[in-house]
Symmetry: C2
Subunit: 270 residues, 2 copies
Amino acid sequence: VILINGEHQDVIAATDRGLHYGDGVFETIAIRTGKPQFWAAHMERLLDGCARLSIPIPDVTLLTAETERLCTEGEDAVLKIIITRGSGGRGYRPPFEPEPQRILIRYPWPEHHVPDEGITLRQCHTPLSCNPVLAGIKHLNRLEQVLARNEWSDESIHEGVMCDTEGYVIEGTMSNLFAVRDGVLITPELSNCGVAGIMRQQVMAVAQHLSIPCEHVRFKAEELNSMDELFITNSIIGVWPVARFNELQFSKGVVTEKLMKGLAKMVEQS
Amino acid sequence: VILINGEHQDVIAATDRGLHYGDGVFETIAIRTGKPQFWAAHMERLLDGCARLSIPIPDVTLLTAETERLCTEGEDAVLKIIITRGSGGRGYRPPFEPEPQRILIRYPWPEHHVPDEGITLRQCHTPLSCNPVLAGIKHLNRLEQVLARNEWSDESIHEGVMCDTEGYVIEGTMSNLFAVRDGVLITPELSNCGVAGIMRQQVMAVAQHLSIPCEHVRFKAEELNSMDELFITNSIIGVWPVARFNELQFSKGVVTEKLMKGLAKMVEQS
């Protein structure tokens, strides 16, 4: 089911800058029992992304109303919201008065079959490029993720770890990455590269609440050797503990369990 | 006028991966007096881009026929061809059997008012990110160009120079860059970054034909001080000599003139 600018439609203009340049941002939001999760955080990031790209800020009241139209009471779904700068302009130059497009797409809730002991990660060869101007934003330029995800088809591998062009670990193709070492939560520093995920943000909030120290660190894939626990996050999967990364084995640890319980509690109370 | 997969249409599916991820490539082709210029070179790059992104290679016979339908005898126009991987797949993962979309858009020929003595360039702040996996490809991830082009609105500035995140000069927002120093043609090395333009390729071919040595060099913006001549290229503008870059002044030099004449001859004979 698709709503474009509030209308039931399933097509966009072939001249849209979202298609031509990836000139826009998006959010992927979990709808659980009819309710969007972490809505305020998603809206904040969406607006921040638009501001950083100088796309006129979308009307959150409209987005809220349209999202409600797509949610069915009691049902789970995935909602993707895309905001593009719309059509127009001369070449790359944005139009003087852009008409941003609001595209809301509801997908069925995906059934993930994840082993109890944790998932399997691999290392991707496709690097992520660094650009502080785009770092953190969930924008529509996602070819690197597409190429990285295209590196494997083995269904027993759940996610791939991507490093930047300097070899620093940044994130998964569709997730953020956390490690635990000596009781300290560690996640890659994202000021040059990567997407600042909403679930990542929530996990850091839970860690703070539980007085678990959290550090934003630049580290290479080899350093994962020295980590005690490893997990990935995104808005749809929540937290997935990692059992294997290449030849390394991890067991679901105490800190990961604590954070998962804290997160579940936070969701319950929201 | 728009042709999508050979049909007169002006919309694409809201689920197209071109929109969601910039998962595709494009060409911008000059149509002069009803004929596409450097057609074979454009097709070669388009196919090469698809191959590098593992997008099924489009049928050049079809593209040729559809382009002919959009060309009117004797008329000038700009043709943009976009190939996307189409809809489908689960998240970033490409579908097992993609159905690429062919989007051909004809735009009016733009009337550029360019001073005889040459154009004015400025330095952009937005950096280009480096990624050898994507370097050279004319793919649909163009947010950096959009942000760079959005840095100025002064109509007397014709183009902006973009450097990579390490400060090396790469290209203009919509053009490639050439300089001449001591009779040697110099153009930025593009193995990590940038678009390998078709007009750039033609200029290098003309230089070779005229026995003008050409070097692919990594250099910083400061080094433009020591250049004797400067010009930019793209498929629509051809060659534009540069008169000013920041506080530097250049005059249209002997080598630029030679190359422009050689290029005109090449176009005539093709």
